[in-house]
Assembly symmetry: C2
Homo-oligomer: 134 residues x 2
């Protein structure tokens, strides 16, 4: 196994500017990256909180995964991302262990990261992401 | 601000043994602590995944916070815990910043940790915990 630890926790929110301001005020968060992730229909920001990282996710449209999540459940924790050296290899390990994959191959995330998602049914309702690079 | 990073991500599950086995198989998780947290009506296990930590939470009864969470939403991410040096001081900082607290004072968690919870409305639906010690 080659997971290094928690890369970030993804949190779905409605208004990115407002949520960033709240996380700065409450938790001393510092914005690390911010940008559109075209393929996922989100505007995202990585915030550092101490040595940890939270990814705030705002939908760019209602008909996107995060837009549907917000409509169904409201704001809250959306996914859990683990850091790995090699997303492609990790996907093969997970598939061999019986996990249902959402992404069969890595796709681009924020700022040069490679990412892939594992179906939440594989991990008790936790939408799991594996991330490398950046 | 004095948050050091993510201490753990709490995941509510129905069967602790089964969930531990799944996290071991898929993610190479290693059990760090396991025990009852009397005041919270849960049996919990801390799992290390690389340098990260996931807390699996099973309810000891239906009429407990985790039991009600499972009945309402099913298994999934339950809370996000940040590490701090001093839970009591962190609670005062959070209250001064306008966050609604669930715990006004620290309470005992697993294995000598001190913990306190902040209301999810303070952080966009994220039930936030602050943890120290252990």
């Amino acid at each position: 196994m080659s997971l290094r630890g928690i890369h970030h926790v993804g949190v779905a929110i409605a208004d990115l500017d407002e949520a960033i301001a709240t996380y700065e005020r409450l938790f001393g968060a510092i914005v690390e990256h911010r940008g559109l992730i075209e393929g996922q229909g989100v505007e995202a920001a990585y915030l550092r909180i101490g040595a940890g990282r939270v990814e705030l996710l705002a939908a760019t449209g209602e008909d996107s995964p995060v837009g549907r999540f917000l409509a169904r459940r409201g704001p809250g924790m959306h996914h859990l991302a683990f850091e790995t050296e090699d997303v492609d290899r990790e996907l093969r390990v997970l598939a061999a262990a019986g996990a249902q994959l959402i992404d069969e191959t890595p796709r681009p995330g924020l700022e040069g990261f490679q990412t892939a998602f594992v179906h939440p049914d594989a991990a008790y309702g936790v939408l799991t992401e594996v991330v490398s690079g950046g």
